[in-house]
Amino acid sequence: MTRGLGRGLPALLLQRLLQAGLVAWMVGTLTFVLTRTLPGDMAYRIAAGRYGHDMVDTAAAEAVRAELALNQPASSAYFGWLWDLLQFDLGRSLVSGEPVVRELWHQLGHSLGLAAVAVALSLLLGPPLGLAAGLRPRGMLDRLSEVVASVLRALPPFAVGLVLILVFAVGLGWLPAAGHGRTAHSVLPALTLALGLAAVSSRVARNAMADVSQSAYYAFSRTKGLSDRLTFMRHGLRNVAVPVVAYLGVQFVYLIEGVVVVETLFAWPGIGHALVHAIVARDVPMIQGTALIMGLLFVLLNTVVDIVCHLLDPRRRHA
């Protein structure tokens, strides 16, 4: 992830751009191959997605097949898609008939909003807890937070979400269980994702803090008479921040995968939710579009992480 940073920012960005192109092509090709190899007749699937299961019969399926030219050979469908992609045309949804770009634009806003709140919440929860634990390694807080973090990371987001709904919506009645529209609706889904993220970031922060607090320069700063607070601010924070931020890049995988599950559970109209429904309905352009956006998003977020690390760590800039 940090390779190439020595050559400076422009080189890094160029490399990422090439990577984005490669990701777009590979994700698109893979989804194309995978959806083609899924068992079952696509025409029936799409007809069910459009008109409902009760209305599906051979006549409806044949109408769909003719309309969408599903009989054309796979190769011509593939190159047609590639040609459209080169012109930044993602096609139209097979189910709703809307341009994929328009649907994605609408859904992406919902997903990014949710993800941003989740990351912000996780940063509020995880690193401070990790820092506190790292200052007293093997202390009460350290051990307790290790157990809680292990449990939270081991549970799938789906289970965490259900528990949160049971406690905060059904039990206490403080927050809505699912849906969207009001700010309160985003709390539980964001928290579900944030807990998983915070579980890891608190441990990363804890280990970094423990390393830093046992380092010679940290001890020296104490010896020369700086207070705990000043030592932490001058010599601790920035050194701890680098691994925490760098690790965020890795965690985006969890976030993107979590969004798919959490959005379905909380009826959140984002791209994760759209992806699940597109797969069920064999809506190939939508599957390709959402997978593409998710892949590119991953590249983009990692680029942002690289840039932040670049700014945080002067050694990399001068290397």
Binding site: D41, G52, A60, L162, I165, A178, H277
Partner: protein, 506 residues
């Protein structure tokens, strides 16, 4: 801690009480079906249920046809020319009147898209004065029932783009669209110029939530006032909730075993009867579907009038008689308790699919129950399309699927599709009955209600004896309803949520 809780409670109270004064309470409805498009052919069912768009023909509480946007209709003797008189004073939500021209245009659009009218021999649709005249190529008595289907709903001319695409849902129902956010949300407000009685509920929202667990939790937490389609596990838990009432009504959607009656083991109707008699329907309904009333000893539930024969589910099981029947057909139990005839074991494959999650479970129950009879059933869970394709290429032996006979208030359309001379994708296979064809043909043109009813009973009785498809269970529409609501009922034809009959308890 308690103090914080009081504080939060007080804050919550303050927030909600100001909200109550600012605007009328919204009725929140949650159901699993997503809104894919404003087009009636795709998501018309949502706009019909939320009472935004209306059809020419409506149904009453018992499922009988009733006037909708058409106040009355007449037909010529052989049911080939139909005249629908359009309701005077009805208006679309954009203020334009519902005219015969507008209705004809709307129906023309519906005709160009896949939908219920596909199998109808419609020649022309014209507006004449305040009447819409439909000419058919051949007799078709169930036409009014088809015009009650949501894919034929009437929208204002301004709803359609030039290419026929539906861009807005401008209907004529008691509620108009406030906002539509596919795929999940629809908000509606009472339409003040509605031709009928003004409903009590002023605002309502529809939210599509695909996960059953989430829907159940939304009912329990009070986030939703009405939650439709509860999974069996949640249903038991909900029935213990103090401020919720659980409603359940059987739907005309039946879980059926499609039988290849051309198969040497299954070509005799006594073999099919034996298989049917070996099914413990009450067990499947109570144990797996958690609704004993779901047991379906016949194809059509009570909501389908004369098609329903009122057979009791207990009578439908008789394992001993089933064994005897098969013995007379030459089947004998071998050492493993499996039936054999001329050295050939009674082994069949049942295809089913998991889009409806209960189907594979019911399939394994059948496997177990038929094992008791000595039939070795293999269950193959695949895609829904494998049943129609197996029908076409003749490879299907048995298929477990769900079939909706109440897409329109008259099941005749579906019955014609399923039990015609060549059978149908979800109906008979390798089976036909000349007398039944004759009755079905008469039903196409017969318009006298009593004559129709007696022929419908004949058809249902014949299907029950010959069993080209074996009924297993009826789907139940379930709903958990907030006790603050009064006047709730479930429409067994799933045409409407009947929001106009609801009111908030004082």
């Amino acid at each position: 801690m308690p103090r914080i809780r009081y504080l939060l409670a007080a804050l919550g109270l303050a927030l909600t009480s100001t909200a109550v004064h600012a605007e009328p309470r919204t009725l929140d409805i949650v159901a699993p079906w997503e809104i894919t498009s404003p087009d009636p052919s795709k998501s018309g069912h949502v706009f019909a249920r939320m009472q935004v768009a209306e059809t020419l023909v409506d149904t009453d509480a018992d499922g009988n046809l009733a006037p909708g946007l058409a106040t009355s209709w007449t037909q010529n003797d052989d049911a080939t020319i139909w005249r629908f008189t359009i309701r005077d004073g009805a208006r679309f939500h954009d203020g334009t009147p519902v005219t015969a021209e507008a209705v004809a245009t709307s129906l023309e659009h519906a005709l160009t898209k896949p939908g219920i009218l596909d199998s109808t021999p419609i020649a022309t649709i014209d507006a004449e004065g305040d009447e819409v005249v439909i000419h058919l190529e051949s007799s078709f008595a169930p036409l009014p029932a088809l015009l009650a289907h949501s894919s034929t709903q009437i929208l204002a001319p301004a709803s359609y783009a030039e290419n026929g695409e539906v861009t807005a849902v401008i209907g004529s129902g008691p509620y108009r669209v406030d906002s539509l956010e596919p795929p999940q949300r629809l908000m509606v407000t009472r339409f003040d110029d509605y031709w009928g009685e003004a409903p009590a509920i002023e605002r309502a929202s529809y939210l599509a939530v695909s996960r059953g667990e989430t829907r159940a939790l939304m009912a329990e937490s009070g986030d939703a006032d009405i939650v439709f389609t509860l999974d069996p596990a949640s249903r038991t838990r909900m029935s213990r909730q103090p401020d919720l009432t659980l409603h359940a009504v059987p739907l005309p959607r039946t879980i059926v075993i499609k039988v290849n009656a051309g198969h040497p083991f299954l070509d005799d109707q006594r073999a099919r009867q034996a298989l049917s008699e070996a099914i413990d329907r009450t067990g499947i309904a109570a144990g797996l579907l958690r609704a004993p009333e779901a047991a379906a000893p016949e194809l059509f539930p009570a909501s389908l009038g004369a098609w329903h024969l009122a057979i009791s589910p207990e009578e439908s099981r008789d394992l001993d008689q089933a064994r005897e029947q098969l013995a007379t057909l030459g089947w004998e139990a071998n050492g493993d308790g499996l039936l054999e005839r001329d050295g050939e074991p009674f082994r069949l494959t049942l295809r089913t699919f998991s889009d409806r999650p209960e189907l594979p479970v019911v399939a394994t129950a059948l496997q177990d129950q038929w094992r008791e009879l000595g039939v070795d059933l293999e269950v193959a869970v695949g895609n829904a399309s494998e049943i129609p394709s197996g029908h076409r290429d003749g490879s299907l032996e048995l298929g477990l699927a769900a079939r909706n006979y109440g897409l329109v208030p008259d099941p005749l359309g579906t019955v014609l599709e399923d039990f015609g001379p060549e059978g149908g994708d979800w109906g008979a296979m390798g089976w036909s009955d000349a007398e039944l064809e004759e009755w079905l043909n008469q039903l196409r043109s017969e318009t006298d209600p009593e004559e129709r009813a007696s022929m419908e009973t004949e058809v249902a009785t014949r299907l029950h004896e010959a069993l080209p498809v074996i009924p297993v269970a009826w789907y139940q529409q379930t709903a958990a309803v907030n006790d603050e609501l009064e006047g709730f009922s479930i429409d067994p034809l799933e045409r409407s949520y009947r929001i106009d009959e609801l009111r908030w308890a004082e």
